[in-house]
Point group: C2
Chain length 494, copies 2
């Protein structure tokens, strides 16, 4: 006879409800055969006395077990373990009994993509400091605000409906507030029909590329360019044409020259701060580029990933703000302001193009996370995002100033750079007497990780010798430490 | 002189903190010029008396405003509105002043996709009942469990790091627990290297298609097939070869015949319940299909989207459980068990293929929602998912039984169907004296929406006259009502 009293142990300190603990244990005893089918269970009154818990706890557990089909109540007789347990014993077929090991190699052919980054995993010790290429400091994530809004939403009557299938364009609330936000902050003049919510700005680049660039269509980018964008264009089947960039950004004269001889489908521009070199596309060139787009009928993919991060000057309005002809696909996101893992971005374009991207996204991931989108909608509406943005802007500016000051004071013999007007990274060019491989290797010995080779942005082997050094993710103490270790690297290299 | 006392109104009943209300209002007065730069602010003591709030509230608000750069404290003098406000006044360029209206048409060319579903928005009155094609009932979402785990995670020390950039393969905890879960429930024998976490199973189908099927490679599907999968293959550039399906699922003899004359890259199979007809692929055909895959070197894309939903029989183990040669790409997800909008799925395959899919997903959406993935990991670990799954299984079984009973009792003159062994829909074939267009139109008048034309699954115009009728999303009262309205439809059609 099975003794519930002796076998069941409930812990009040556990984060798991008592009644669920009781369920877990009874199920495991049923599964293991210790409580066989048709066994009568003690009454809730008896068991509550035996286990010293409230009778309601026992009743809740029994209800749960009945719902799941483990036990059943027979009127006037009591509660019993069901005869046919809800245990799944799937039917095997063809199982040889030999070890069916996890697979390393596939038994079929597939197309590998040499243009996609191959090194994916790096292991680091906890004492390692990292100079990334410009990412936000996750320690500044406004987690309490987010959690609070999340909680509030889960209490609303509409909450559950947010968890069903939703619009492939994204949550309607977020699209609405985004229209207001972008019209106010970026001088756009859009309506909700121009908005697709994406999983971060990268999905916007991917969707636009797939629709614009298949079958060897041509796209123009800078001769140094954001590598992941280049990879995305190559993946779509594009031919990439490069034009030089200088202190005013993309050379639009060179773009005009190419357009006069070849059919160009799109130009990719990170207008606010050119990636990787951080320069801003000048107002004059913005106008020129818009004129060219209209004349030659190409799309401008304007990736304005860090419009919100400007320290020294006011930003110039994006090209999208003066796009009278429907040539601009404006891409941005909140991952850099809020948190990289909460992937919310947007693609702004003429309605016909937005419709087509929505149809394509439907077969990629069906839709976004409506709950997260609703949360962001509220944060936009209440101004929480703008407030948080102002806050981190001040912090990042301080970090930029310190990083650049120390870089100049202690490392100007080795590095050349301009102070970036915004963003999260400095474009640092290495004295040609040195090379990055030696430096990265030596740095690693000192537990400092600098851009791996695929982060050097020298896609066309021009030998520019520059890398992006991110300052935003390091606090002031860490910045001091990073600079100290860099000084040691050069001392040791001699 | 601006009067704080007369202009600021704080509401204790609001869900917004008092100090944030105060911030909001002071900022808006500064922005509107009512409190000009360099204005001295009242002391926190004075303002707390004027507004009848605790002095700590005023101090918190002032701290927040200082952090954001709206006000500053000058030692021995007091607190002042800053001279240079943190207001963004972006520089305009080329702004003509004319109405820059939201765009309908783009000024560039892009490739439209005739194979993607074109009708995307449908408006419904609230009294409309919907016969969908088999989706879960969002009212059954275990929202309290999810919210509780979410909250617990946000209290952990590792929480913020989950919000930074994470693995392109998905959260390590989830991959680990998924290995155990799939090995236990599906007889797989996989390790963490075989697992990619996706945004629902659809992303798995998309990624696999892109890698396997470019450039007119051939894939075999059933002659009725899940339409979104077919669209995904077409999007990837595939040629689709069709084989018949019968009561044992895909005709593997027909597959063998095709393989003997053409190079086949993949076979797509919804093994547990063929979509749309809900039949199960027999054990014998599973073996045959695996043998063919090995002999001809093709991939089996096994979309096991509703393995967990079986009512009458134990399920047959998936093909992936007996895949000794690395031919199977096993795709599944939790959206149907948990909630459609919480898009978590998985792709299980040999390591080399998983690595390549991860690289591709990196340029699509970078990574998943680590926080949500961590939540699901815990739900798998504690057994919450299995428990919830058992619970909804019982409910859906009752709904299936009622739906089929009423369909048989009241509509057998018009419809032919088999009771499905699992899943969320019945495959209903219409008496050829009728056609779906008339029925759908008439139904709409009675506020009943049945599958629109693109949901009829007759991709190859075979005239099978079948549709999927979902029963899972309707409660018992709604099922009664739906059947009553269907009876009225046929009565009116005569």
């Amino acid at each position: 006879m099975f003794s519930f009293k002796n076998n069941i142990v409930l812990s009040r300190g556990s984060s798991r409800n008592l009644y669920l603990q009781l369920c877990d244990q009874i199920i495991s005893f049923i599964k293991s055969g210790k409580i066989p089918p048709s066994t009568k269970l003690p009454s809730s009154r008896k068991l509550s006395e035996d286990l010293h818990v409230h009778r309601k706890t026992i009743i809740a557990a029994y209800d749960e077990l009945i719902t799941q089909g483990w036990i059943e109540t027979i009127p006037y007789r009591g509660t019993f373990v069901t005869k046919s347990l809800p245990l799944i014993t799937p039917k095997q077929f063809n199982y040889s009994g030999t070890e069916n090991k996890s697979k390393e190699k596939s038994g079929f052919l597939f197309v590998t993509r040499p243009h996609l980054i191959r090194k994916l995993n790096t292991e680091r010790s906890t004492s390692t400091l990292i100079i990334d290429d410009g990412i936000p400091d996750y320690r500044l994530v406004p987690n309490e605000e987010i959690a609070k809004i999340y909680r509030n939403i889960t209490k609303k009557s509409y909450y559950k409906s947010l968890l069903s299938y939703g619009s492939i364009y994204g949550n309607a609330e977020l699209r609405k507030h985004l229209v207001t936000f972008l019209n106010q902050t970026r001088g756009l003049n859009i309506s909700i029909d121009n908005v697709l919510i994406t999983r971060g700005s990268q999905m916007g680049i991917y969707l636009a590329s797939q629709l614009l660039l298949n079958n060897k269509k041509r796209i123009i980018t800078g001769s140094t360019n954001y590598m992941t964008a280049d990879n995305t264009f190559t993946e779509a089947g594009a031919i990439i044409e490069q034009v030089p960039t200088d202190h005013n950004g993309l050379d639009t004269g060179a773009i005009e020259k190419i357009c006069s001889t070849k059919k160009i489908s799109a130009v990719y521009v990170t207008s606010h701060h050119h990636h990787p070199t951080t320069v801003t596309l000048s107002a004059k060139r913005r106008m020129h580029l818009l004129q060219l787009a209209q004349r030659y009928g190409f799309a401008i993919i304007e990736d304005d990933y860090d419009y919100d991060f400007h320290y020294s000057n006011s930003p110039i309005l994006p090209l999208a703000s003066s796009d009278t002809n429907g040539n601009v696909i404006y891409i941005g996101g909140f991952t850099k302001i809020i948190a990289p893992a909460l992937r919310i971005g947007y693609l702004i374009a003429p309605k016909d193009f937005v419709d087509e991207t929505a149809r394509l996204r439907r077969i990629i991931d069906r839709q976004g996370d409506t709950l997260l989108e609703q949360t962001l909608a509220q944060m936009l509406h209440t101004g929480d995002i703008q407030r948080h943005s102002n806050k981190v802007l001040k912090i990042y500016k301080t970090r930029r100033d310190l990083f650049c000051l120390l870089l100049k004071e202690k490392l100007s013999a080795y590095f050349d750079f301009d102070i970036p007007k915004g963003g999260m990274a400095v474009w640092v060019t290495l004295n040609k007497a040195y090379n990055w491989d030696d430096i990265c290797l030596k740095a690693k010995e000192l537990h400092l990780e600098i851009a791996p080779d695929w982060r050097r942005y020298d896609n066309d082997n021009s030998g520019h010798n520059g890398i992006r050094m991110g300052f935003a993710s390091l606090n002031e103490k860490e910045i001091q430490e990073v600079i100290d270790r860099l000084v040691m690297v050069f001392n040791e290299l001699g």
